[in-house]
Structure formats: structure tokens, C-alpha cells
């Protein structure tokens, strides 16, 4: 069933959007939130677990100190107050990915609260997003739905559960209602999540890889007619897990809400599911009395008391704030204002930083990310970081070009090979037989042939009409099937003709 939608412009003419976000950040601690099992992505199912993660009878949780410190750091970076004392609670609900059938989570006593984050939009406008709270909780296991047509939950025959992710430490960052973004709401949504991602990455507390679910976003959207104060009924779109998807999902929900409101039917408060393929949401289930989570203080854990000394000690370890950091990076990298803003807007600041850290120059990193990868990501309709290009790949590509082993044209071909999973750049160069012809012998033969074929042009060059050289170079490149280094060909032609360029 497809929902009716208005165009975004129509929606904006009549309504103001109010947004809200719940961003889940997986911390990159070595061990889990409440057990000593490893916090590692991608291992064999049910091997990063012990009795605690499986919710075996008799087990008890013990809190990971580093996870608490990371949470406090996130709170500080989001300009939050840090609770002097806070507790965990149990959120009771039955679901097979939740081993105890309750989630250990902070409820009415978050470790951090009342903060804000200044988010820069593409034109440099700064929008302040108020943070309600950041609280600690544990992740659930991973369900795979088998059988049925879609691989989705609907129509599945059975499901398989891997508890490796169960108990991975999470910090959930909840915004206050975000008003006044108007038609920039979708852009703000993306910029906000990008900013959170940048902060946690910068703090070193999360790997922040959205494609692995390190940063996951639930987006709340409601509309109200212009001029009305009271909020409309909101929908909560779950698991919008790329920056592009956040933007698209918020846009779609605005359009959908507008159509519902226009039709005079009240909006239902419900969960929505985001579908990347169709860029639409579908109805999950409405809020019901089954949402009675029966929270109560977790009796197996004791309060966390954050002394001033401890908080100040952690504050002292914080890296510079994002705005200052961006200024520094721009200066370090020598990018122009426009270049730098493009990088930020394309969502590849983190990737470029990693690439430079891996050994590439700032200009090479920008050339590859902005010139090649962003375009490919756009075509593939994913975030650039999700294409799977590793910093080391770019460093290797740049080295191959620099060493004259391949030229730029070949390098882009090699990049495609890497993205197609054919191997490392060097392996692809070997496999595909790509190499700049570096032995001048065959080149000289080709040059002789090209000059002999076009004697009039050779004369023009001899007479100083250097721009004519292109025709000879083209002939040589054709003869060598593009494998020659055009620069070297040019040098050799001039040498041959005795012309000083």
C-alpha cells in the first residue's frame, strides 16, 4: 500500500515541521557494557558471548568503566550537564533479540542532560539543536529473518538470532523538539546526524561507521499548520541508518504527514519503517498498551556517581570542539572555504581525515573523495563512506600514480576494480595488465610511426606551433592502447624533433 504524499513545496506552504532525533551510538570499548565478552563486529555468530550476554539463569551485570567514561565524554561534547548520580533501570519487553527480555537502560536518570549542538548547514548557517539527554544502554542481538519473499520480517518463516551484538554499549542521544527549521528540515536532519557522528568519531569513543550500525538514527517528524504552537502527532521512523537516508526519510515523512493532515484524518502516533529501495516509509505498529515497559531501577546494578573531579579529569581529555577542529583542519589541509564546505556537505570530512592520517596528501585525499568517490556514491545512492573505500586504498592508488606505474585514467579504473571487490590496487594492476609503458623503446617506435604518418604536423611543430603536438600524442596513445604516459610521450616527441619547449 502506498501512502498519499504532497510535494515537499506544497507541504511547506501549509505546515511547519517539528523534528526530533534519537541517535544510538555504539561505543568502541574492548568489552561489552555489562560483561567481559569482546565488543567486536563481524565475527562468527554466537562466539562473542558468555553466560551474561546470553541471559543465562543466575548471571549478573557489572558495568564497564570505560563505557561510562565514554558516555560522560559524549555528554560533555554535547554541552550537557553530567548527572551527579544516576542509575540504570530495566525496560521490560519480550523480544527474541533481547536475551533477558528486558533491556538494561537508563530511564529517568540519564548520565547527561540539557545540552546543545550547533549544526552548520550547507550555506554556513548555524542551527542550534537542543539535546534533551544522553543515556547509557545495551544493544540487542541481531535477528535474521529467513524464508518468505522479502527477507523482511513480514512473511518470514522463521528467524535466526546471533547474540554477538547483545550487550554492546550504546549511548542514546535524544534531542528536544527541533522547531523552526522550515524547508531546511531534511538538510538539518542530515547535518545533525553527521555532526553527532563527527563528534563521537573525534572523541574516539565510537568507530562511527554507519554502514556497520555504529551510529543509528530514529527520526521523529510532526507537522503543524503555520502559526500554531501546539505540536502535531508525530511518527517515529526507525533505523534510518545513512546520512542520505535521514535526509530522505524526513523529507518523505513531511510530505506524507502533509497529505494525511490535508485529508482531514488525524495522524496516527506510530512507528514507521524506512525502505531504502523505494525511499518511502511503511506503517509499523501504533503505540499500544503493550508498550507498558514497567521500568524500575535495576536492582543488580548500583548508582554511578560522577564526582566533579572525575568529570573535570575527563573534560581535560576532550579534543577541541568541532568548530575549532574544522578551522584547524582547513588550515592544515590548505583548502579554500568553498572546498572545505563542499567536503563537509558531501559528508566526507571524517573520511578525508582518515585518508590523510593514512599517509595521503591533503590535495590527493580531496581529489579522490570529492572527484571520484562522492560521484560514485551518488550513483549508487549511498553515503560515500558506505562504498567501502579504505584510506589505505587511496594511499596505494596515489602512490602507484606518483611512481608512474599507472596514470590517472588507469587509477580510476583500478578504483572501480577495488569497489567491485577484485582486490587491492596493486593486485588489480597486475590482474588487468595495467601499466604505464615506461620503456622508451616501444614508445620511440610509435612516435616515429606517428611522425611519419603525419609529416605536415611534424613540420608545424618544428616551426614552433607546439599546440599541434596533440595530434601526434593522440596517435601514439592510440598505438599503445592508452598505456603510455602522455607527459613522457610529449617530452620524447619534442626531443625527437629537436624542439625546446
Amino acid at each position: 500500500m502506498t501512502d498519499a504524499i504532497l510535494t515537499f513545496e506544497e507541504a511547506m506552504e501549509k505546515y511547519d515541521p517539528v523534528l526530533g532525533f534519537e541517535v544510538h551510538v555504539e561505543l568502541n570499548t574492548k568489552s561489552k557494557m555489562f560483561s567481559s565478552a569482546p565488543n567486536v563486529f563481524g565475527d562468527e555468530p554466537n562466539t562473542n558471548v558468555n553466560e551474561v550476554d546470553l541471559g543465562m539463569p543466575g548471571v549478573l551485570p557489572v558495568l564497564n568503566k570505560t563505557a561510562v567514561e565514554s558516555s560522560i565524554k559524549i555528554g560533555l561534547a554535547l554541552n550537557c550537564k553530567i548527572a551527579e548520580a544516576c542509575r540504570f533501570a530495566r525496560k521490560n519487553y519480550f523480544y527474541p533479540d533481547t536475551p533477558k527480555n528486558f533491556q538494561t537502560s537508563q530511564y529517568d536518570e540519564p548520565i547527561a542532560y540539557d545540552g546543545y549542538l550547533d549544526v552548520e548547514l550547507s550555506d554556513g548557517t548555524v542551527f542550534r539543536v537542543e539535546i534533551e539527554r544522553a543515556h547509557m544502554e545495551e544493544d540487542a542481538g541481531k535477528l535474521t529473518h529467513m524464508g518468505g519473499a522479502t527477507g523482511r520480517i513480514q512473511g518470514a518463516d522463521f528467524s535466526l538470532v546471533d547474540y554477538n551484538r547483545a550487550g554492546v554499549p550504546l549511548v542514546e542521544i535524544v534531542t528536544k523538539p527541533i522547531e523552526g527549521a522550515g524547508s531546511r528540515a531534511p538538510e538539518l536532519a542530515k547535518a545533525y546526524v553527521a555532526a553527532v557522528r563527527e563528534i563521537v568519531k573525534n572523541l574516539g569513543v565510537s568507530d562511527a561507521r554507519m554502514e556497520r550500525g555504529n551510529v543509528r538514527c530514529d527520526a521523529n517528524v510532526s507537522l503543524r499548520p503555520h502559526g500554531r504552537e501546539r505540536f502535531g502527532i508525530r511518527s517515529e521512523t526507525k533505523n534510518v541508518n545513512s546520512l542520505r537516508a535521514v535526509e530522505h526519510a524526513v523529507r518523505y515523512e513531511i510530505q506524507r504527514h502533509a497529505a494525511v493532515l490535508d485529508s482531514g484524518i488525524p495522524v496516527v502516533q506510530e512507528t514507521r519503517h524506512w525502505h531504502e529501495d523505494t525511499r518511502t516509509t511503511t506503517s509499523g505498529r501504533p503505540k499500544s498498551d503493550a508498550d507498558d515497559y514497567r521500568y524500575f531501577p535495576e536492582p543488580d546494578l548500583v548508582p554511578v556517581v560522577a564526582s566533579r573531579e572525575w568529570v573535570e579529569e575527563l573534560r581535560a581529555t576532550l579534543p577541541e570542539p568541532p568548530a575549532a577542529r574544522r578551522k584547524r583542519l582547513q588550515a592544515d589541509w590548505g583548502y579554500s572555504d568553498l572546498e572545505f564546505r563542499d567536503v563537509v556537505n558531501a559528508g566526507v570530512l571524517v573520511e578525508i581525515e582518515e585518508t590523510i592520517a593514512a599517509g595521503a596528501s591533503a590535495s590527493v585525499a580531496r581529489k579522490w573523495w570529492m572527484g571520484e568517490i562522492v560521484g560514485r556514491a551518488k550513483n549508487a545512492d549511498v553515503d560515500p563512506g558506505q562504498l567501502g573505500v579504505q584510506p589505505a586504498t587511496i594511499v596505494e592508488l596515489a602512490k602507484l600514480v606518483e611512481d608512474g606505474k599507472i596514470n590517472n585514467k588507469m587509477a580510476t579504473e583500478v578504483l572501480d576494480g577495488v569497489l567491485a571487490g577484485e582486490g587491492t590496487p596493486s593486485e588489480i594492476v597486475d590482474k588487468r595488465g595495467l601499466a604505464v609503458v615506461s620503456d622508451d623503446g616501444p614508445l620511440l617506435e610509435a612516435i616515429d610511426a606517428a611522425l611519419a604518418a603525419q609529416p605536415d604536423i611534424a613540420d608545424k611543430i618544428r616551426n614552433g606551433k607546439l599546440q599541434a603536438i596533440g595530434a601526434i600524442v593522440g596517435g601514439v596513445m592510440k598505438a599503445t592502447r592508452g598505456q603510455a604516459d602522455a607527459g613522457r610521450v610529449k617530452e620524447l616527441i619534442l626531443e625527437k624533433l629537436g624542439v625546446n619547449a
Partner: protein, 535 residues
């Protein structure tokens, strides 16, 4: 070994066994075998004690043989053996053990083997104490009679038609019937002390957090404590010393070093101590014979030089109500994990759609008994939206009031004293249909759990009207468990002097005569009818 020898061995206390083992007068294999023989003799059959759900003969004998070999070899390894090495013990089947099934007395865990050991079990293994097996209990420790076990009730060795108390009736009956010299219990609202009272044994609920709960299947996390079940006060101190002390796997485990409890039990002295009678915990509602024996104990303590004072704890009147809100609330959440997904029973719905929700619903419907369901539903209610403040929230405030009552009482008394239970053992089936009457058994034991303070129950004699054991409860401030042993040891020796020997000497002797002896060398967990017994 002659039969007399075997009969003598099983009647020795753990301290006596330890001394004889160290002196190499007896071997651990003899001791373990004597207890296994006793279990075979009295535990099975239609009218057996049925204290055990599983007997761990092979492993227990292997550990015993290892201890004997170390002692025989002598040298440093023998010197380093724990005092209780080779002394066997039974473990309540709520505590997980590698290599033996753990059922919690429930169908939902039938056949489940834990892949890890509880911390207390690790400590028993470190001390090289042979584990005789796992003892019966009310399902998930929910009950005061052990009749709520899915594997049939345990019988009281004093009268096989009566309950052995609960939830730890199996551990208490095993010790009272000389099937084990020592046992572990768990006490959430009196499950160690009340069975101790009605079986004429000693039971201790340590200060909350002083014994690790890791590996004890949780009923109510903020109330549960593991503790010793024994025949003498000194034995409880010896066992407490083995299992107690900080555990990094339990966040509520106290960091304090354990006091020397054994020394306290050996010294035993009440001279000049102020012992407080809790006005609200005796008199009306307490059986006359219980009251009489309680008064006997007060007289003896007075004669020994203690000052008897009266204290009032007015908020104890709310303790039972608060307990029956907090306990089921926490239990409803703790028992959510039993859902047929990761371990244990899975039951498929008989008709209708086969979804995981329905499988969970059918599994829990079939796997849990009535009392467990009752408490889960009650707890779900007390925590549900709109009721939290009135129920769970209010109950937690009552907890504060109960603690304040204790604090006030301990400013005028060093130790408090009361009967452990309002009555002696009632008949099997007598209160099964009346949950409220059953809950009233815990009225004197519950305040200690709410406040986290330690409590000890010891035999105070036999009630005049029915000749059944009466328990005397001692309570001390949190972290002052040693006081219980000091006072308990004195009272025990005064009472035994009066009786001319241990109270259990007066228990009817159980023989195989009226009991059919089954093969108990394998698990009895599945072999016993679900509603066994003849109540």
C-alpha cells in the same frame, strides 16, 4: 566399614568431620559414601524425604578421593588443603553447577545444564568440598513449604506428613535427615531460616552483599542472599567463611573483608550484651509452643549475662505487604528470560498461528507452576503504568521505614531476637490453596531481607503441643554477622546442655523400613512424578 561406623559418620558435624579428616582418622571417601548410602536409604520412595533432585555420586567420590590422596601424600599440598576439604555438601538447586542439572524446581529448566559455575560453587570446589547433589525447593524459590516444586514436595524428617519449610526445604531436610552435614540455601524472605526453624537445623542469611549472588537464579535481586544450612552454629560459620567475601562478578557484593566468623562462633560470649526482643515479632499470631520455647531462650541468655531489652519496630507491620510487592515485581522481570528461545523448555501452541510470541506464551504457561504465575502476574501489576508509585514505589519507601526501625532498635540492642516462624511445621497440603496463609509464615523473617541485615535461625526446642521444632531467630546490624555467631553459639550450647544433646537426637530415626529405596545414583529430576508425594 561397618554400619555403625557409617551411622556415626553421618551424625558428625562438619567441624568434627574436618578434624577427623585432618587427623586421618577417617577418609573423605568414607564420609561421602556414608552420606550417599544415607540418601539411598531415606530420600527416595513414596514416603522418602525427597530432599534431593539430583545426586552427584560419581563426582563427589572423585573429589573425595582426590582429597584423600593429597592428605595421604602429605607435604605442602596437604598443609594447604582447606579446613573443610573433603567434607561433603548439598547445594540448593537454585544455584548453578557445571556437570549437574540445575532446575530451580521448575519444569521450564528440566534437563538444563549450566555452562558455568556460581561463585559460591567455585569456592566450594576451591576448598575441595565434594558436592553430594542438588536439593529440592519451591519452584524458583517461591514458597514456604517446598510443595511448589515441580518435582514433588520434600518431607520433614520430624514428621513425613509435614512440610520442611521453604523454599529451601530440600537443603534443610537433607541436613536434618543426616543426608548431608552441610548445605547451601538461598534466602529472599526467609527461605533459609524458616526451613531451619521447622526442621531443627541452623540457617543463616548473611548481610546482603556479603555472599556473591552470581549463579544463584534470581528471584528478587535486592532481597536474595545465599547462606549456610547446617546442624550447628559453628558449622554455619565455617561454611559462611568459605562462601563469603567480595566477588567482582556481583555489583552488589560488599568490598569489605569478611570478619572472622569462625572465631566468633568458637568464642561465643553474651555477657553484657543487650539483646532486644522485637515487640511486633511475637505474641499474637504465634503458636503457644513457639512462644514458650522463645521465652526459654530469653531466660537462658539472661542467665548467661545478657541484658534483655524490648524494642519496638512499628513499621514491621507493613513489611509483609512491601515484600509481597517488591519480591514479585523483581521476580516478574527476573523470570522473563525463561521464554523457550535460548535454553530450557520450549512448548508449541496447540493451535493457532505459530509465532514466537505464542511459543513464549505457551512455554511459560506450561513451564511455570501456579505460584510462579501468581507472583509474575502480581509483579507485572505492581510495576505497570499507573500503579508503580502506589505499589512498587510505596513498597520501596516502606523499606526505608523498616531500615529506620532497625537502626533505632540497634541503638538500644546489640542483637535482636524473635521466633523464626510463627508456627511449627504444618501438614503437607494444609495451606496449598491459601496463598495468604502461606505468606504469613515469613512474617518474622522478611524484615531482615528488606533491610539487608543478617539473620540466623537455630533450634530452640520442641513445641509442647505437637513436639515439633521451634526456631529462634537472631538479627544483627548489617556487616555484623559475627555477632550472630557469638550469640548463637552461646544459646546453642546452653540449650543443648539443657536437652542433654543436640535437638536432632530427638528426631524420629528414619530407616529404609517405611521407605522404598530407589536408584539414586542418576538424576532423579525427571524420574519423580510432577506431583509426587501423597498430600
Amino acid at each position: 566399614m561397618t554400619e555403625t561406623n557409617s551411622n556415626q559418620l553421618i551424625r558428625l558435624s562438619a567441624a568434627q568431620l574436618a578434624r577427623k579428616l585432618a587427623a586421618r582418622e577417617i577418609t573423605s571417601v568414607e564420609v561421602v559414601q556414608a552420606h550417599l548410602d544415607r540418601i539411598a536409604e531415606v530420600d527416595g520412595g513414596d514416603r522418602g524425604v525427597h530432599a534431593f533432585l539430583h545426586v552427584n555420586a560419581e563426582e563427589a567420590l572423585a573429589v573425595a578421593a582426590e582429597v584423600d590422596a593429597i592428605r595421604a601424600a602429605g607435604g605442602a599440598a596437604a598443609e594447604e588443603l582447606h579446613e573443610l576439604a573433603g567434607v561433603p555438601i548439598a547445594v540448593k538447586d537454585l544455584i548453578v553447577t557445571i556437570g549437574q542439572p540445575t532446575t530451580a524446581g521448575s519444569k521450564i529448566l528440566e534437563g538444563w545444564h549450566s555452562p558455568y559455575d556460581a561463585t559460591v560453587v567455585k569456592r566450594l570446589r576451591d576448598a575441595k568440598m565434594p558436592i553430594l547433589g542438588k536439593t529440592n525447593l519451591d519452584e524458583f524459590a517461591m514458597g514456604s513449604s517446598t510443595e511448589h516444586s515441580a518435582y514433588g514436595p520434600t518431607r520433614n524428617p520430624w514428621d513425613l506428613d509435614r512440610i520442611p519449610g521453604g523454599s529451601g526445604g530440600g537443603s534443610a531436610a537433607a541436613v536434618a535427615a543426616f543426608e548431608a552435614p552441610l548445605a547451601l540455601g538461598t534466602d529472599t524472605g526467609g527461605s533459609i531460616r524458616q526451613p531451619g526453624a521447622v526442621t531443627g537445623t541452623v540457617g543463616v542469611k548473611p548481610t546482603y552483599g556479603s555472599v556473591s549472588r552470581y549463579g544463584a537464579i534470581a528471584m528478587a535481586s535486592s532481597l536474595d542472599q545465599i547462606g549456610p544450612v547446617t546442624r550447628t552454629v559453628l558449622d554455619s560459620a565455617l561454611l559462611h567463611q568459605v562462601i563469603g567475601g567480595h566477588d567482582p562478578f556481583d555489583s552488589t557484593s560488599l568490598p569489605d573483608p569478611l570478619e572472622d566468623l569462625v572465631a566468633a562462633a568458637r568464642i561465643g560470649n553474651v555477657e553484657g550484651m543487650r539483646i532486644g526482643i522485637i515487640k511486633e515479632l511475637h505474641g499474637e499470631g504465634y503458636q503457644a509452643g513457639v512462644e514458650n520455647r522463645f521465652n526459654d531462650s530469653l531466660e537462658l541468655l539472661k542467665e548467661a549475662g545478657a541484658e534483655i531489652v524490648e524494642v519496638s519496630c512499628p513499621n514491621f507491620q507493613y513489611a509483609l505487604g512491601a515484600y509481597y510487592l517488591i519480591m514479585p515485581s523483581e521476580a516478574s522481570s527476573n523470570l522473563a528470560k525463561f521464554d523457550g528461545v535460548r535454553y530450557g523448555l520450549r512448548v508449541l501452541p496447540e493451535d493457532g498461528p505459530m509465532t514466537i510470541e505464542r511459543v513464549m506464551g505457551a512455554t511459560r504457561a506450561a513451564g511455570f507452576g501456579d505460584e510462579v504465575k501468581r507472583r509474575i502476574i502480581l509483579g507485572t501489576y505492581a510495576l505497570s503504568a499507573g500503579y508503580y508509585d502506589a505499589y512498587y514505589g510505596s513498597a520501596q519507601k516502606v523499606r526505608t521505614l523498616v531500615q529506620r526501625d532497625f537502626d533505632a532498635a540497634f541503638t538500644v540492642a546489640d542483637v535482636l531476637i524473635s521466633p523464626t516462624a510463627p508456627t511449627t511445621a504444618f501438614k503437607l497440603g494444609e495451606k496449598l490453596d491459601d496463598p495468604l496463609a502461606m505468606y504469613l509464615n515469613d512474617v518474622a523473617t522478611i524484615p531482615a531481607n528488606l533491610a539487608g541485615v543478617p539473620g540466623l535461625s537455630l533450634p530452640g526446642g520442641l513445641a509442647d503441643e505437637d513436639g515439633l521444632p521451634v526456631g529462634i531467630q537472631l538479627l544483627a546490624p548489617a556487616r555484623e554477622d559475627a555477632r550472630l555467631y557469638r550469640v548463637g553459639a552461646v544459646l546453642e550450647s546452653l540449650l543443648e546442655a539443657k536437652w542433654g544433646g543436640p535437638l536432632l537426637d530427638r528426631a524420629p530415626s528414619l530407616t529404609a523400613h517405611s521407605l522404598t529405596a530407589p536408584d539414586l545414583t542418576v538424576s532423579t529430576a525427571g524420574a519423580v512424578p510432577a506431583h509426587g508425594g501423597s498430600h
